[in-house]
Amino acid sequence: MDWYYIQGILILSGINLLAVLGLSLLTGFTGLFSFGHAGFMAVGAYTTAMMTVKLNMPFTLALLVGGLAAATVSLIIGKLTLNLKGDYFCIATLGFGEAIRLILDNVQYFGGARGWPGIPRETGLMNVVVWNVIAVIILVNLIKSRHGRNMQAIREEEMASQIIGINVFKYKMISLAISAAYAGVAGGMLAHYTGFLQPRMFQLIKSTELTIIVIFGGLGSISGSIIGAIVLTSLPEILRTFHQWRLVVYGASVIFIMITRPQGLMGGYEISITNIKKLISHISSLGREKTTVGGDNK
């Protein structure tokens, strides 16, 4: 395969990964399910583009502003909807994603549905990798901290967490804001990769894809999300020669994964040096059924 093409796939995987990492915190570690992350990406994308195109801001700074804007919007949405249960929250985020798109379709300042061409192309493999490394480091540290453990407690037993004094609402808000910020930065990178923005780039299917990646990689596993983002972004590329059959295969594999291995590829496990050591000792004591690492979600 040609490097130029591989580079394209890697950049796209990287952009998806950034959004997936955020969603992984929300869905995988806090147990909230969002259908509106394409909306947060859109907020980030349009804000970042506005910063670079209209205000001539440097790209890195603009991305931060984009992330911040997405986080701010998420706080407003979260304030209103985070008290809702399961599917109610889900549908509320779905409505939010569609509403954002509808607004962007109508706002002629950003080109409306006709789109916004002429955004400088700043995103390359280098800065995608750098942003992802930073994003992973922040996320790992957060999850290992007291706050991260509180989020996981909420995922496991919301009621019990409340009783032992965890401020459930606050932690849900933090989790949502951080994940929206990640999505916002990802959106900004996307805008400066294609050099063009159009509301239809942020359809519901985009949110769904992100969630599928998180689940495929395994809830509560950052390494799972990383592998998931790379595999599932490359999969449609590899299937390219199958033309219209490729989404059939994609849909079928999603069901297949869910029914054979619903905990996903990594299922709460992480790839880390200690875990690799444990795995080696596990293999040396061959054949014996025991699980020592991490923990299953359910």
């Binding site: 395969m1 040609d2 490097w3 130029y4 093409y5 580079q7 394209g8 796939i9 796209l12 798109r101 509808l102 379709d105 109508n106 409306g112 549905a113 006709r114 789109g115 061409p117 002429g118 192309r121 996307l190 990769y193 294609t194 050099g195 063009f196 159009q198 509301p199 239809r200 780039m201 595999v231 999969l235 449609p236 590329e237 590899i238 299937l239 390219r240 020669t241 033309h243 219209q244 490729r246 989404l247 594999s253 054979t260 291995r261 590829l265 059924e289 699980t291």
Partner: protein, 397 residues
């Protein structure tokens, strides 16, 4: 534990299998392709991208079929410059990001001489950076946004071309015809707020119509995917327009036309090149009777008939508008390659800049300053007795 190992094994195998098939040479060899080996060098790759899945799949499929059919024919007649052509079509799902990657693959891995498509402005604008990086020309089929071939500063993009009208032209033609020829002064617009084509036509229809002294009495929007337009139409009925402009695609046109008549709106309906289709007549024959739309060509033209018959015989499907424009894109490319006398992408690009060819949708003269086809008259079509009847050539001034 066992299950997990099995799962990992199966998925690894699956991914490996896909990698292998993905990297192997294309399956879609031309019918009489030479065997691998010494003759393989004789085959030239041409790329096509567009939607084979997603909500624009109808149009994308027709384009892909047309392009494949035409190159098969060209190959049977000895190819271009004595070489056989292989078409490599990739699906974009109508997504700009996918389009970028598909073109990256076409230009780097498949080493195509040129790219035909895509069928939407969003994707066409997004791929121009890749075309410029790799110096391969692209001919958009139905991408009507002016920004497809010209950047924000008004400079022409070196590798983007198109064979269709641009939005301002079509909107202006419709409005001009409505005021100057049909003598209307009160118009209403119903448009798709989530669609770039629809917004583009609406903007320029409104501008021209008002500029010519007409009045827009109602302007209502719907969102792609909507199937019921009665709330908007009831409001339009109150405004009592003489003409109702419907700049969107035939399925929605059929639904909204039926609903408009049900509600008792008797205004003349008018639209753009998203209209012509057999489905429109099947679904709304009575409702669209007496309506006008702007088109690229006259359907009764014998050349058009030949193509239509050949296509329908081969695929057992009706030809959509995109088919005609894909036909012209292939014709344009063929003539540019012959003129360049080479399959070098940059030389093809140079030839494209001044290419002129008689297409199925009219004479196509590429303007080197805009990369748009110049002086293509629009055809005004009226629907009479369930048939598309050519009225006159009309160009906006």
């Amino acid at each position: 534990m066992k299950k997990r190992v099995l799962f990992l094994l199966v998925s690894t195998l699956l991914i490996l299998a896909l990698l292998v098939t993905g990297c192997s040479p294309q399956q879609s060899e031309p019918a009489d392709a030479p065997e691998e080996g010494e003759a393989a060098a004789e085959v030239i790759n041409i790329g096509w991208i567009g939607s084979l899945t997603g909500d624009q799949a109808v149009w994308g499929n027709c384009e892909k079929n047309t392009v494949e059919m035409m190159f098969e024919e060209i190959n049977e007649n000895g190819g271009i410059l004595g070489k056989q052509i292989r078409v490599i079509p990739y699906d974009t799902r109508g997504d700009a990001m996918e389009a970028v990657n598909a073109v990256r693959r076409l230009t780097s891995q498949d080493k195509v001489a040129a790219v035909i498509g895509p069928n939407a402005s969003g994707q066409a604008i997004a791929i121009s950076s890749v075309l410029e990086d790799m110096e391969v020309p692209g001919i958009a089929t139905v991408a009507t946004n002016p920004k497809v071939t010209v950047d924000d500063n008004g400079d022409v993009k070196p590798f983007n071309f198109r064979v269709c009208f641009i939005d301002p032209y079509q909107g202006a033609v419709a409005a001009g015809y409505a005021v100057d020829v049909l003598g209307f002064s009160k118009a209403a617009i119903l448009y798709d707020v989530a669609d770039d084509y629809s917004q583009g036509l609406t903007e320029f229809f409104e501008k021209t119509f008002v500029g010519k002294g007409g009045e827009i009495v109602a302007k209502e929007g719907f969102k792609f995917g909507d199937v019921d337009f009665r709330p908007q139409l009831s409001k339009i009925k109150e405004a009592d327009p003489e003409v109702l402009f419907m700049p969107y695609f035939f399925k929605e046109v059929a639904l909204s036309a039926n609903q408009a008549r049900e509600l008792g709106i008797d205004a003349v309906l008018m639209g753009g090149d998203g209209w012509p289709s057999e489905v429109l007549l099947e679904m709304a024959e009575e409702a669209v009777e007496g309506s006008y739309f702007v088109n690229h060509l006259d359907f009764a033209d014998p050349e058009v008939q030949d193509f239509k018959d050949a296509y329908t015989a081969k695929y057992n499907l009706p030809v959509e508008l995109n088919g005609y424009l894909a036909y012209d894109a292939v014709k344009l490319l063929e003539s540019a390659i012959i003129q360049a006398g080479s399959f070098d992408p940059v030389e093809i690009r140079d030839a494209l800049k001044t290419a002129n060819v008689k297409g199925i949708t009219g004479q196509i003269n590429i303007n080197p300053d805009t990369h748009n086809p110049e002086g293509k008259d629009a055809a005004i079509i009226k629907i009479i007795d369930g048939d598309y009847v050519f009225q006159q050539k009309y160009s906006a001034d």
